[in-house]
């Protein structure tokens, strides 16, 4: 809402500087966004909150300033008389069908508008100062009245109206070509003003192109109505349209304004001798007009919930200064017709706090009778993981949850199924039309981006975030590419391989006293733009669940008797997974086997095709007695026998 200082001075006395005035407005909740200097004046741009429709006019802002501080004294209004009409009503008939939405419909005729007439100079200046374009003298005057007192009105070319005017619901798929040049497809939730042949305006929002006022218009029908705010809400927005008029009606215009506005119009027309005008006509349906509400004021509640020491009288004075009616006997308050935001007791608590001044409210420390809360386990877990990555030279990334249709973006991290993931119906760009179901693609993009910008030899990124698929769950993903370490002098860094990811999974499981088999994870590699990336994903949600269910760390007794180690090196089919070998070893049920240690894996020269060579160390130890070498030999024979039987392994010399 833009207004000039001089415009406000029309209503109130201002002794303060414009900066002081704007500070007062801001501190009362009418935040001043911008002050710009123009010749001998300032334009003040106020960012009004949607509850304060009463301040969408110069008069409203002045009234508000007066409630904030009575030094902004209201100037007495000149006693203006009601002008005598100079023409008759034309014969047009009106029929308000939607009177619940339009409980007050006012109109007036203007005749013999000359194409030579012009906008009065002071109106011209005030509109230009706040950036409203001049259109037609009558339209300009209507715009001026809207900004001045807050009532939107509309002008129709009266000679183009055919037959009876009806205010009704639109029919489904009814179309209107509006003043802005756009065609709007309507439905029954829209309220329209129509004549017997066509829609002449979308009620309270915008007029139809055909019936609009132009330079050659001779006779004008002016509409000044009240539309119920709740019925107007969202109507314009649904049509992707917002006008000064709809903005005001949906927030709430004082239902007493339509008369005031038409009277004001006739005065301006008479003063400036612009054209002939009729008397003012109204079609009212009082039942549907808003009612002021009586609310009983609880002074103690106001004092307690704000936390201030304020007398009953002071409260009453604040409410009276807001334009409310206050009955001291019954302690009841009634809101003025322009204050739609005052309706329940809490609204009055706010009004008192606001005008008392938030800055004047003391700071009172709390007395809380709540047990000190525990640290939030999920955050403790994710922070522990972050710390681990931090200590291992990984960088944490945070990416948008949005991705596009690219295949890479589109797999479920667990199953690699390509599914239709959650699509955003009103996405901003095709690049961001879905919710990601894995973090891999985002982290690869991060590496690619950095490789273009910085060209490192080693990339180590991770992210912890919710991903979206059948179950929305929090996961941890790390993606690596290139060398394991940044370039340095002491030795050449090895390249990353998937076993580096296995180490991470194992380390993370250890951080939480778990085994990697307790985690839900995947380790894979993937190609993107000709480069190979290795990644690892762990379900953080299932880790959190395990941790919450898991008991605390417990000591387990161990023996101090000597151990014996035996090593086996053998050749086995490449396809046999290590876990199956471990399973067979476990099934031999050698109780003295304390530890199995893989110390060698070799594939290549001297090993037959599709075979691998493994070296496994076995550590035997008995809890009760010192183990003999013969016993150790028999254990290893047993294990070897089983392995030979199951996998046809071949011992290496």
């Amino acid at each position: 809402m833009k207004v000039t200082r001089s415009w406000l001075e029309n209503y109130i006395e201002i002794v303060n500087t414009t900066d002081e005035l704007c500070h007062d407005l801001t501190m009362a909740g009418l935040e001043v966004d911008d002050i710009s200097k123009i010749e001998n004046d300032h334009v003040i741009d106020i960012d009004l909150t949607p509850n304060r429709s009463d301040c969408l006019s110069a008069k409203g802002i002045s009234r508000e300033l007066n409630s904030i501080n009575s030094q902004y004294k209201q100037k007495p209004r000149e006693n203006s008389s009601k002008p005598n009409p100079t023409c008759k009503n034309s014969g047009l008939k009106f029929n308000v069908l939607a009177n619940n939405i339009c409980p007050r419909y006012g109109y007036m005729y203007l005749e013999n508008v000359s194409s030579a007439c012009s906008t009065p100079e002071y109106i011209n200046k005030r509109l230009s100062d706040i950036g409203i374009a001049l259109i037609h003298p009558i339209v300009d005057i209507l715009n001026y009245i809207m900004v001045d007192i807050g009532q939107p009105m509309h002008a129709y070319d009266a000679d183009k109206v055919n037959g009876e005017i009806t205010i009704r619901q639109a029919k489904d798929k009814e179309i209107m070509l509006a003043l802005d040049g756009n065609e709007y497809k309507l439905n029954s939730e829209n309220i329209v003003v129509s004549d017997s042949t066509q829609i002449i305006s979308l009620a309270g929002i915008i007029g139809a192109e055909k019936i609009s006022v132009s330079k050659n218009t001779k006779n004008i029908l002016v509409e000044s109505a009240f539309f119920t705010p709740s019925a107007m809400a969202n109507k314009a927005r649904r049509l992707k349209l917002q006008t000064e008029s709809s903005h005001r009606f949906e927030r709430g215009v004082d239902y007493n304004l339509p008369q005031e506005a038409l009277l004001y119009l006739s005065q301006i027309i008479e003063e400036n001798k612009i054209c002939d005008f009729s008397n003012i006509n109204f079609i009212d349906c009082e039942d549907f007009l808003p009612q002021s509400k009586e609310v009983k004021i609880n002074h103690d509640n106001i004092r307690k919930s704000i936390g201030i020491d304020i007398s009953d009288d002071e409260i009453a004075n604040i409410l009276l200064s807001s334009g409310c009616k206050f009955d001291k006997k019954s302690n009841t308050v009634m809101n003025p017709s322009y204050r739609y935001d005052l309706s329940i007791h809490a609204d009055y608590v706010e009004e008192v706090a606001r005008l008392y001044g938030y800055d004047n409210i003391p700071v009172t420390s709390e007395t809380i009778n709540i047990e000190p809360s525990n640290k939030y386990v999920p955050f403790e877990i994710t922070n522990k993981i972050r710390q681990y990555f931090y200590n291992n030279s990984y960088s944490e990334c945070i990416n948008y949850s949005f991705v596009n249709d690219d295949l890479l973006e589109n797999f479920n991290w667990k199953s690699e199924d390509f599914k239709n993931h959650d699509k955003i119906s009103n996405y901003m760009s095709l690049e961001q039309n879905k919710l990601r179901s894995n973090l891999v693609s985002s982290l690869i993009r991060n590496i690619e981006y950095n490789n273009n910008m910085n060209s490192e030899n080693s990339y180590r990124f991770f992210e912890i975030s919710t991903v979206f698929s059948d179950n929305n769950e929090q996961v941890l993903t790390c993606v690596v590419n290139g060398d394991k370490h940044e370039e340095q002098w002491s030795s050449k860094s090895p390249k990353f391989d998937k076993y580096d990811m296995t180490t991470i999974v194992e380390d993370i499981s250890k951080l939480f006293g778990l085994n990697k088999n307790d985690l839900t994870y995947v380790i894979k590699d993937v190609q993107s733009n000709g480069k190979k990336y290795i990644y690892m994903t762990i379900s953080v949600d299932s880790l959190i669940k395990t941790m919450i269910d898991n008991p605390k760390e417990q000591y387990v007794n161990y023996t101090k008797l000597p151990y014996i180690r035996r090593d086996l090196s053998f050749i086995i089919d490449e396809s046999i997974e290590y876990k199956n070998i471990l399973k067979i070893i476990k099934n031999t049920n050698v109780l003295s086997l304390k530890k199995t240690l893989l110390f060698d894996l070799y594939i290549g020269k001297n090993i037959p095709d599709k075979k691998k060579s493994l070296g496994i160390g076995f550590i035997f130890q008995d809890d009760e007695k010192t183990l003999t070498h013969e016993e150790a030999d028999s254990f290893i024979e047993n294990i070897l026998g089983q392995l030979k039987e199951q996998f046809k392994i071949e011992l290496r010399k």
Partner: protein
Amino acid sequence: MSGDTLKQDLAKVLDEALKSIKDVNNPSDLEKVRVHFLGKKSTLIGFMKSLSGLDGEEKANAGKNLNTVKQQINQLLSDKKTSLSKSSSNLKDAFDLSMPGKASSIGTIHPITKIMNNAIEIFESLKFECVEGPEIEDEFHNFTALNIPESHPARAMHDTFYLENNFLLRTHTSSVQVRTMDEQNPPIRIIAPGKVYRKDSDITHTPMFHQIEGLYVDKNVSFSNLKSVINIFLKNFFEEDDLRIRFRPSYFPFTEPSAEVDIEYLDSKGNKNWLEILGCGMVHPNVLEMANIDSKIYSGYAFGLGVERLAMLKLGITDLRLFYENDLRFLKQFKRI
């Protein structure tokens, strides 16, 4: 070949070997030198083979000379080998304190995470308990239960991303308030940190950002308590006891009275300015009632912090979008834990 020419040739070979061995400075080059002078294809072995063409005494003399040279070269090689191994151990002794170390193992934590943890820690010390809620929400929890009915003009303030199944991406963490009040009875004292989404993108808006929502519902909670908790938080967070803070009336459908909080900061030109830092207010009675909390007995306050904004102010970042580019030149600036 005469004995004399051989003598001369041998002297030449020895001379060459001396020079070559002297120049060598690592073991593998030394091995190459050895092969060159003593290997199967070397000049010396060639001479050995040519001995067969000589007569008795001459052959014996020549053989003797050859062996002497061979031994001399061997001696030179072994001396060099010893000196090389010494010099490599000398490298270890000659530690250079100013040299860079080997590969560093320190990574980076995203500044948003750090700022968020920083804020959470302060609130936890003020006895707030952390809770989380879903990022995909329904209209009820995101709007209706927060006193934002379908027709409310305030819904225009949130540019919401809708999913095809009629769910939406939460526009604020206030939805977690609703879920907590549904499940818990007062006293309730929580913070809800997390990601939120709005359809907006420019230098000061990203379609995803982070918020921390706070809620306290109990008997006798006042606006003046709210001022206290916000003051303590901001002064702690910015580590500035004299931080100037002001509360301004504002409007949110789910609080009443509502306030926006500004802090005073110096801009690049050294001018004092007020900067909006958070929104807060007393929980609207309709919100309490919708959660079956008796607003005649209980009152509460709520606040919502924008984590990015806090991070920008604390770290001096001017472009919001930097947070989501994940450029290492950006990330590596925040090495401190």
